[in-house]
Symmetry: C2
Subunit: 213 residues, 2 copies
Amino acid sequence: MTDLTLTTFDWVPEIPRGYVRDIRVRWALEEAGLPYRVNAVPFGDRGAEHFSHQPFGQVPWLTDGDISIFESGAILLHLGKRSDGTLLPTDPRRRSETIEWLFAALNSVEMASLPWSLFMFSGDTEDTPGRKSLDKFLESRLQHLDSVLTDRDWLAGSFSVADILMADVLRLVDRFDGLAEYPACRDYVSRATARPAFEKALADQMAHFAAAD
Amino acid sequence: MTDLTLTTFDWVPEIPRGYVRDIRVRWALEEAGLPYRVNAVPFGDRGAEHFSHQPFGQVPWLTDGDISIFESGAILLHLGKRSDGTLLPTDPRRRSETIEWLFAALNSVEMASLPWSLFMFSGDTEDTPGRKSLDKFLESRLQHLDSVLTDRDWLAGSFSVADILMADVLRLVDRFDGLAEYPACRDYVSRATARPAFEKALADQMAHFAAAD
């Protein structure tokens, strides 16, 4: 048993609470039943030690013994491997499917949805040519994803690390009502976030930041 | 020896040529010295067979025996594992570093840079609040990456799959002169694209699409 420590900020403003990416790691750890500790670093003053673990000055990172990992995708892949097949199948073909969907959550969907959410956060409604491209980019990804999710409960056979990432990516779209025309995506988010491990992860993140107020 | 087949479009318009994502896969295959075939699917009419391999209707995908993989990140991770340590170190700590940087290329940098490039392609120069957020997002990622690349030639010790992804992500920023203030990023792109495997991959992609004109 190695020693898992999740590092996140000590505090964040109200708006991102519930959506800070440590929730992906908490959720995976809870699903896998792996014990862990939570460590906090200053939100306001990010020093050299912080950048040595996360070169973009973001959170989270995870330490597992003497290995320190940043990027929620890399952390979830690592935890999947540690979950004894629970969150990442051991069968080669199913494992490969899970890994491609894990990347798809980040690089096909979030690459469109997170920038879109920056415009939503800004309250920016100007219909410029670039904005039209961005909206169309997200729309195309959600349309295809909705077709996929019409036929299945989870992306790769059974619930996996890919679903943790995809559901968390879609939650932020849903926050701005961006899933209104994609019922299968909306149902998928409801199904995923009804899991006790998600509920605990969310409650723990909210309590962590509230404790610092 | 299994049978590797890379699938890309049969044709694309002039503008994306040289930047279609099959180049990442070609580059990795050339670096690893793995033999492969190239298969083409219609750009214009994407059918059910296409979507069964790539659910977003994009390219590339790779088949390795009876396994079919989409997402350039997932494909490069797979090829890294097949490269006998050439593109993905076998030492656990160095392998973990390489994987986190592979994700960082896609989810920390490309998530900011690709949407920004959509605005550049559109010729959209309107300085709206959302656009300001997007520019700031990319700027912050490139600033931190520039610091990292000031001290090292490659992201994780030696040249790896992470560098193929990061260099290809940065090439598209460079196309719109977005690296002007980030000399270490610019030098990194020059260093990476001077590799014979990249030069062959680029020439092969250009020839593939030119043959269809």
